[in-house]
């Protein structure tokens, strides 16, 4: 993990051994007897202008990881080094200062917008929170932002319910870019949208990235979408990363058995293609009672006794920066 940055600049975000455990309260006294290890020792980096895709199935902890990075949760352990400062233990005003550069786009554009505020108020709220500009300046910025995300200027006076899902997601994007952040954590930004609208929103995000030199941490379960927008991809399983590589390598030469199964399970929109599907048995185990050793071993077709006992750590394979958490080279 501590490879010197030979050609790439210093990372914008570096997450080191991040843990987010939630207490599970049981019994009459609601004592926390167990914990849900939603994120359990994740290391990752995001370079300036880069998109890191984060893929995994529901319950693997990818959304929790995203929310912990923007510090909507206080991590149980580890470091979140953003522009050189560790956010993991900051709070109050020093955290607020960092939030200007670290924004989030949420999955559900209905629930993430306050239905009692006008769109103009929603987009201007970051300026209010950070005490930026006067009313006239804020109004002007809102108009500019609406234009940037492809909404008409009169949208500012209207309410979120007057807009379709795709337009609402554009409002969420406008709010996220209002403070000109460096990094945006996007939690399933297009999962709730129809195919024809999804491509419009993805194009908008790609254009904004080019214009504003944004970095994205792009969280989604749809690997085709993630691969399209990402430079590098990390695959997550039960709170841990099992493989990271550049987007092309993940798709063409996946090394971890879980990544292979995941890619082979994606139904491709091409009826002439008859591919060999690896159908995994069983379900994702619960992060409250994670299996011993490798978290993937109960479903892995290649599991051995070593996998049951020993937790595999991410290690380099090949020269392209590909890393897998597996004991074997399969």
């Amino acid at each position: 993990m501590s490879t010197p940055s030979d050609q790439s600049p210093a990372p914008l975000l570096e997450v080191k051994d991040l843990q987010m455990h939630f207490p599970v309260r049981e019994g009459i006294l609601l004592r926390a007897k167990k914990s849900c290890r939603a994120v359990d020792g994740v290391n990752l980096t995001v370079a300036p202008g880069e998109t890191l895709g984060l893929v995994g199935e529901s319950g693997c902890g990818k959304s929790t990881l995203g929310k912990t990075i923007v510090r909507l949760y206080k991590p149980t352990g580890g470091q979140i080094i953003f522009q050189g400062d560790d956010l993991a233990h900051e709070h109050g005003s020093s955290l607020k200062a960092h939030r200007r550069e670290l924004q989030m786009i949420f999955q559900d554009p209905v629930e993430s917008l306050n239905s009692r505020h006008t769109v103009g108020d929603i987009i201007a709220e970051p300026f209010v929170i950070h005490k930026m500009g006067d009313d006239a300046w804020r109004k002007k910025r809102v108009r500019e932002l609406l234009d940037k995300v492809g909404l008409p200027a009169n949208a500012a006076e209207r309410f979120p319910f007057e807009f379709s899902g795709g337009q609402r997601q554009r409002i969420g994007i406008a709010r996220a870019i209002a403070l000109e952040p460096k990094l945006i954590v996007c939690d399933e930004p297009v999962s709730a949208l129809d195919v024809s609208i999804q491509s419009q929103v993805l194009n908008l995000m790609l254009e904004l990235q080019r214009d504003m030199n944004l970095s994205y941490l792009f969280i989604a379960h749809n690997l085709a979408v993630v691969k399209h927008v990402s430079d590098r991809i990390a695959i997550m399983y039960l709170g841990r990363l099992v493989e990271t590589a550049d987007a092309e390598t993940i798709y063409r030469a996946p090394k971890h058995p879980y990544t292979r199964a995941l890619i082979s399970a994606i139904p491709e929109p091409d009826p002439t293609k008859k591919k060999q599907r690896i159908v995994l048995q069983g379900d994702v185990p619960s992060p409250i009672n994670p299996p011993s050793g490798c978290p993937f071993h109960p479903r892995c077709p290649h599991a051995t006794d070593r996998c049951k006992a020993e937790v595999p750590l991410l290690r380099d394979v090949g020269e392209t920066g590909q890393q897998i958490a597996c004991h074997y080279d399969l």
Binding site: E57, S58, S164, G166, D194, V195, S196, I197, Q198, S199, Q200, L202, N203, L206, E207, H221, L223, A224, V225, K227, H228, V229, S230, D231, A247, E248, Y251, A261, L262, I263, S264, A265, I266, P267, E268, P269, D270, P271, T272, K273, R277, V279, L280, Q281, D283, V284
Partner: protein
């Protein structure tokens, strides 16, 4: 039930035929037509995919066939639904009870809401058998265990005593499938059966549906918005847009040489694994008009790049090829779809009406 030549099925009478189905909803804003003249056929042992975006009427079509429209707002305002030649829209409700669950089964999208949380799996499954097959509760439970075993639920004799919340999402969907297939129906309608599931679980469920179809020979009507699922599962496809059928045909034809501008736009706008990264995607501009505000004539016209004055008239349904129909005035004139993905697709697909070559 035993047919020696399943391949000739296209020529035989369909098991289920929908003719000019019109479904309306009474709302505060007047009567809305959610499904407007939809026709298609379903054949034994084959899978028909219905694809379209939210609000295109695909689920309403399914609920109309099952006569499960929300009451009192939903009505079948016209058309016929013929199951083995009998028009279901004319059946009295008591007769319909005998059809539902016995000759037609339905798999719902959300397995948690499709199952009753306060009854055990066994009780819910037995209900199907007690309605259609047996009076004996013990026998019904035994049959339930058998069907759970068939859909791949481990230790089914234990699971019948459990409640839906004790099962995972994939297992719950298996139970819903078991319920739909309990009486070996000839038609199964699956409404987004894997949308709520993860990819690896989706792969399990799709494989299960395929193997059960091979074994039991039922016709499946698969409703989904996922073109990938359509490509993997279906023999034929109906593409719906705003309550009407835009294009219908064999799955290979629809994917290799779509004739309707909407189908073309839909196929072009999905990000694919072999795409160049970070390239801008093709889009269909604008959005689906609302039901109360449909344009006259072709409903796709306000988003269509090939729109002319003629599109203000109701588009005719033209025959493109065997079994392949399109509802577009201009399908002959518009540029044929360039399929940049299937390098190994059949040659006839790519040579379709290319003026530059002739």
């Amino acid at each position: 039930m035993s047919d020696p030549s399943p391949d000739s099925s296209a020529k035989r009478a369909p098991i289920l035929e929908v003719r000019d189905l019109v479904t309306t909803f009474d709302t505060d804003n007047g009567t809305l037509t959610a499904v407007d003249g939809v026709s298609f056929q379903l054949h034994k042992g084959r899978t028909l995919g219905i694809v379209g975006e939210s609000g295109c009427g695909k689920s309403v079509t399914a609920f109309s066939i099952m006569r499960l429209l929300p009451q009192p707002m939903g009505h079948i305002a016209g058309g016929e639904v013929l199951l083995d030649g009998v028009d279901l829209t004319k059946l009295p409700p008591e007769e319909m009870l005998k059809v539902r669950g016995d000759r037609m089964g339905m798999i719902f999208q959300e397995p948690m809401t499709a199952l009753n949380p306060v009854h055990t799996i066994g009780r819910q499954l037995s209900e199907v058998y007690l309605l259609h097959r047996t009076k004996d509760k013990r026998e019904a439970l035994r049959m339930s265990v058998d069907i759970l075993d068939k859909v791949g639920i481990p230790s089914p004799e234990v699971r019948v005593g459990e409640y839906p919340h004790q099962l995972s999402g994939g297992m719950r969907q298996r139970v819903v499938i078991a319920m739909a297939l309990a009486c070996k129906p000839s038609v199964v309608i699956a409404d987004e059966p894997t949308t709520a599931l993860d990819v690896t679980i989706q792969a399990q469920i799709l494989e299960l549906m395929q193997s059960l179809q091979k074994e039991m020979g039922m016709a499946i009507m698969l409703i989904t918005h996922d073109l990938g699922v359509i490509a993997e599962m279906c023999d034929d496809v109906v593409v719906m847009y705003a309550g009407r059928v835009a294009e219908a045909g064999p799955v290979e034809k629809i994917f290799a040489s779509p004739s309707h501008p909407y189908t073309q736009g839909l196929l072009a706008s999905i990000p694919r694994l072999e795409d160049e990264r970070k390239a801008l995607l093709e889009t269909i501009e604008g959005m689906v008009p609302s039901l109360s505000d449909m344009p006259v004539g072709c409903r796709f016209q306000n988003r269509c790049p090939f729109r002319t004055e003629v599109c203000a008239k109701h588009p005719p349904v033209d025959q493109v090829g065997p079994g392949h129909t399109v509802a577009c005035h201009r399908w002959r004139e518009i540029p044929s779809y360039v399929n940049k993905y299937s390098g190994n697709s059949s040659p006839e697909a790519s040579t379709k009406e290319d003026p530059a070559q002739s």
